[in-house]
Symmetry: C4
Subunit: 198 residues, 4 copies
């Protein structure tokens, strides 16, 4: 891919990150976002590590391969490997990873998974009606991305394009960055609701 | 009506939607807003479905009839039928439908209706004094807009231009978009108060 | 006073109101702000009634006398009389009245007054140290401004330039609009703290 | 140091303060920020006292010595002495002091220190893994900066570049203003999490 295409992907991710940062979901330099720029071979543009997520520019992005390894300049987060794994596993074209208080609080309260039922907001995850029961999986945290990926693969639930990593945060995916954004907003809304009514 | 008038209505709705989105009341692509553009026959401009409510433009609007059916280009939400029903039933010129955490949390806590009394903020709904008791009706959710409309019609309470749909969100109406906005803010404030003090 | 001076006062109040509105403290069209423009005879500029407090312009202001009666164009809120009374009673040059969730929630929890002690933030109300105990008075609401003023006069506490009106909101005063703003922020912070830790 | 350098430091602090103020962490005129401008002798630029922290300009800054005494124009906060002490003690190049509701609420709940364990966000404080247990010290408040400094020095914990002052707020430090900002966001996130899940 050309540097120009990478910078375009970087501009999209910077705008998405600024949005999430304004919600307080990327405090410190936490979280990272990615977009698939080539499917075969699998290549993703991932936000650069260690930067303020509200101040990214189009060039604060790293090109990585299917293992999350850097293919050019810049240092990707170790979590780039998990982004690549999610993209390969689910076919998603965009992955969002944010650190929200509600996801960690609810993950601690419901370590075997957080159940949602009879909520209109579930239609925002693609369900045709509110009359469904779905579970947001909660997996144990790890610094080993292979281990974390295995847990995510094993826990993945039908009709729920998201996983909570306990003590850590939220992974959400979609076909394109805007879909991943909307699903992230829906999942976080559901978590805030459960937190508020418990 | 001319396309120009429809676009003008779209510009007003886009501005109102951006405001509600900034409050976190339209997460994902949830919620929709409408304004009556003709009373006889009843015609409404309704926000287009599936769009980010913080990024609407003046053309992201659909003209619908008294059944919520599209009269031109664009896809209205299924909920357009409920907007039209509310407008016909109440004489309102503008309808707001938002997905707020407080409305769903309080609707779950008080499924037979949420009572408010002795609150100055009730004057923002047209009451001449705080010394009143009013109930915000809570109705069961449905994907059938006829059913949902019947429930809304049956539950509608004197002095309360709003209804909570359980597990779903809030409908509020007023003479014009600005009045509907102010009433929405008042009802949501009342719900946040009840949530905070319980 | 000249129309020009009144417009200048209006510009200051509009900016202050926009700030408070952005915090969610003036939902609907609630609350009002004033500034003393002449001490003898007592004259205040008060924000116009029924307007969105985030969208005021310099001309959305009314000149009132020591009884809160309008001296020119525009309709003041009935509460203008209470603003004038506070200014006369305390010597304050600016009065802030906002509808915050925390003030109404805490006023309901502690109807005999809300005690604060050993808090550094109390220095923001003029105390030289955190080692003080002060009480924020809570008075019953009324639609009769004379009655409400009598209650405020009777309840006023040393070292606390503010009063909670139960089921209604918060009155805070200071020498100038900026001092009234800072004191409002301090009192609201104290209320949010009590709400969070109880 | 030249006036120009001081103004540059002031511009950085003004931008940082505006950011924290927008989060509601510097209500009233509370809190102050500093940056080390010379190490030997120790000299810090500290935000001027009594100003609205969302409206600082580059010149709202005071140069202080290792005791927090003013070296030029402007009135520093009494807390400037504590900023200088933290910089001398820890080698930090930037110190943040904010008044957050969560720090005071959690400091009251856990007066012997607030423990955090198994949280990915701890990596934002320099830990290589989430599998650590660290304690955020809580010290008693005092108007005597020497006493407060002694308490801070005695309570300082390994791997935690922050201290809560009970009934007061939060001190956080880092090598440069941006690191101090990110650590402040991380510590506040941890406090909000504990508050939400308790």
């Amino acid at each position: 891919m050309s540097d120009l295409d990478l910078e375009e992907a970087g501009a999209v991710l910077a705008a998405e990150a600024a949005r999430f940062a304004s919600f307080g979901w990327m405090r410190g330099t936490s979280g990272n976002l990615s977009v698939v720029v080539s499917r075969d071979p699998l290549r993703l543009a991932v936000t650069a590590s260690g930067r303020d997520k509200g101040e990214l520019t189009a060039s604060d992005v790293v090109l990585v391969d299917e293992k999350g390894g850097a293919l050019g300049a810049g240092r990707p987060s170790a979590e780039a490997a998990l982004h690549a794994r999610v993209a390969a596993l689910t076919g998603a074209g965009a992955v969002v990873h944010v650190h929200t208080v509600a996801s960690v609080a609810m993950g601690a309260r419901e370590p075997r998974g957080i159940a949602f039922a009879d909520l209109e907001m579930l239609k925002g995850l693609g369900h045709p009606t509110h009359e469904v029961s779905v579970t947001l999986p909660v997996i144990a945290n790890s610094q080993d991305m292979g281990e974390l990926g295995d847990r995510l693969e094993g826990a993945r639930a039908e009709g729920m394009p998201a996983v909570v990593v306990a003590g850590h945060g939220l992974y959400v995916w979609g076909a394109v960055p805007q879909e991943a954004r909307h699903r992230t907003e829906v999942v976080e809304w559901l978590l805030e609701l459960e937190l508020a009514r418990s």
